[in-house]
Subunit: 406 residues, 2 copies
């Protein structure tokens, strides 16, 4: 069995990197703090006898050989980057639990049939460059590497500059290599498991999503002198679109998700009518048809708002992900492990995006969820219990072992 | 008569300081660029034989002696700071035209009865520290100096740090000294004069205003996992308040003004439901009663919005300015000068705030407006014609001379 105390203390040691005063972490992708987290992780991998490779997107693969070198490896892992005001467990749990799996195998001197590889994907969160699942997306061929390299953050720094800046642009191309399967442990980030007293979520797939970048353009002018009839207030337009997103979400009941999370006003001066507002829009739903319907309805209604106010609206669809079912055989291994361990478990669809969703396009994949306090994530107060981490890690251990030795 | 070519070339020389690619200026108050503009101005004052004093708010007074040293000076001027994406003439016209008045008197060897003082007020725009009319407000005793020193910009720099940083915290206390009168030339920043083919606006007063700082607090959480029923989206609340401000403005017809110009979202990440939004709100109206009504109605309705969405709203009233009539005798001097020069002129109420509005609480004051293209200001495309600048400057010259020699 895995060592719950070692798992927890490594989780806490990783949480020191980018720790925030409110008890969360700020470990934005490809920053100096991310580099520090990666170095700490790399050191632990080396001590556990693993061999590290870094690919051209900065994805890290730490390999443990198997008895049969001709077999493709079983992959598992998650991400070490965080939101600007993120929690200690979102992503880190899956990576550090994967490390604990490797350490346990080393302690017990277990040799698996297939090789194992522990992965830390680059930029899962998407909050710095606007694309979530970036490293796994390029790896799986969903995003082109050149276009991804050219994305820029709010300060104008490109992905490739940031990668090279922290010394994590590796040699190996970021592209799918032959792999047996992929397992990812993650906190649920939602309220369902906790509410129902479940210890394990057997994740059957990810929901459909569509993301946009929006720019509303009006005209900067003086707040005190410009009469109502001649105003072209870009913020008023953006505000109505924010309300529209909420309305379209609620029209789909409790399964709907619609969010404007990022919004920037220009010139952002109290006595200037805003001439330009740039913001993000995203919708999610377990049903791909609902997302298709939203992708038709939202741009049309948003344009109507802009037209009514004499504003210009540029709407760029960043990506559209269909609902992604996981591999039934891999899901069954998770279900079996939870049952064997006597842990109350239920099937669940992931509300959040995860690297597993892109990896699943190339490799049979599954995920394991553990509860988190009040379903709260993307928040510094994100919190889980040591025994919840240990249960999730044990399920991961058993599923990976079963798959590698089949 | 004043020298139109010299006036224009000095205006263009000042516009080089902080020039932006789109033809405007960014000369934010108390920055390095502001210091550069002040130094250029100080050099010109010295060359024109003026004696410069700087007060504890960085307000600059350039004095030309009169025949009778016992008489209080006639003041005139405006401000050299700009909006982040401001125009070349907002403020600079009044200061540089004042300099042209001084230079013309020097050229013609005219000695006035009363001394004259040309003023450059600190931070008229208010866009950096959130308080417009800051230097004149402290001078006139509307704002306390200590509280004003403690205001901070978006980067956390305080007013006093910024003042000392550019070496413009002067010896003399910022407080009203005996002065005969104050005249300020400014572009209208609105569409009225241009629409009616007027060359001069005889400003009879400033409109009433009320400004707020607002903070809406909800809860950061994951955009993909948080169901509609448990969301507390601070941006949704702010968006509804933006719509409310617009509705309250329009309910007052063409004379109403209501603007949210500045808005900041936290944590501002595309896949995080915003937990906090901070923004500015301001209303203006020629009638003080309408502003009193808005100051009762707006906070009440904004609170209802927040309550409905389960959000917390903090609303801090920054200031409330009653409608401020100018001094009839000073206004008459402006009217007479325009008439004598044969310039089409009309009475007008200022839509913008101006230093003259605070100075008028202590000293008889008046203002002169000139048209600006398309009524556009607080915009880099702000534009006026050389002859419009010259006409305004000539009216200023005559009004000041008449007052100083009466
Ligand atoms: N797991 C997680 O928080 N992913 C971020 C990507 C998203 O779901 O928006
Ligand atoms: N004149 C001018 O633009 N003043 C800025 C203060 C304001 O009216 O908001």
């Amino acid at each position: 069995r895995i060592d719950p105390a070692r798992l927890w203390s490594s989780l806490m040691a990783m949480a020191e990197v980018g720790a925030t005063p409110k008890g969360g972490v700020k470990r934005l992708t490809l920053t100096e703090v991310d580099r520090e987290g990666r170095q700490r992780f790399a050191g632990w991998c080396e001590a556990a006898g693993l061999t590290l490779r870094v690919d051209s997107m900065g994805n890290m693969f730490a390999r443990r050989p198997g008895r049969d070198p001709s077999r493709p490896p079983v992959l598992f892992g998650s991400h070490l980057d965080s939101q600007p005001t993120g929690g200690k467990f979102d992503g880190a749990l899956g990576v550090i639990a994967g490390l604990e799996v490797m350490r346990t195998l080393q302690d017990l001197n277990i040799e698996t049939e297939a090789p194992l590889e522990l992965v830390n994907w680059t930029d899962e969160e998407g909050s710095r460059f606007g694309h979530s699942l970036m490293g796994s997306g390029v790896w799986a061929g969903v995003y082109g590497q050149d276009a991804t390299y050219a994305l820029r953050d709010g300060e104008g720094v490109s992905v490739i500059e940031a990668l090279e800046g922290i010394g994590y642009r590796g040699e190996e191309p970021a592209a799918p290599f032959p792999a047996d399967s992929y397992f990812e442990l993650h906190i649920e980030q939602g309220p369902i498991l906790e509410r129902e007293g479940m210890r394990i979520g057997i994740v059957t797939g990810g929901q459909a999503q569509v993301w946009y970048d929006a720019v509303v353009t009006g005209q900067d002018s003086h707040a005190g002198t410009t009469p109502p009839s001649t105003r072209r207030d870009a913020l008023l337009g953006a505000a109505r679109v924010v309300s529209l997103v909420d309305r379209l979400m609620r029209a789909r009941g409790e399964d709907g998700r619609g969010t404007v999370g990022r919004l920037q006003v220009l010139p952002n001066s109290c006595n200037v009518i805003p001439g330009e507002v740039r913001f993000s829009v995203e919708f999610r739903h377990p049903s791909g048809e609902e997302i298709e319907a939203l992708a038709a309805e939202f741009p049309r209604e948003a344009r109507t708002i802009a037209d009514e106010l004499g504003l210009r609206l540029e709407l760029r669809e960043l990506f559209r992900i269909p609902a992604q079912p996981f591999d039934p055989a891999c899901v069954a291994l998770v279900r079996d492990a939870a049952a064997r361990l006597g842990l109350p478990a239920r099937e669940i669809i992931s509300g959040a995006g995860h690297d597993a969703i892109y990896v699943a396009r190339r490799v049979p994949a599954a995920m394991i969820f553990t509860p988190c306090k009040d379903g709260l994530s993307h928040n510094e107060a994100e919190s889980i219990l040591p025994e919840e981490a240990a249960d999730g890690c044990q399920v991961l251990f058993e599923a990976v072992l079963a798959r590698a030795n089949r």
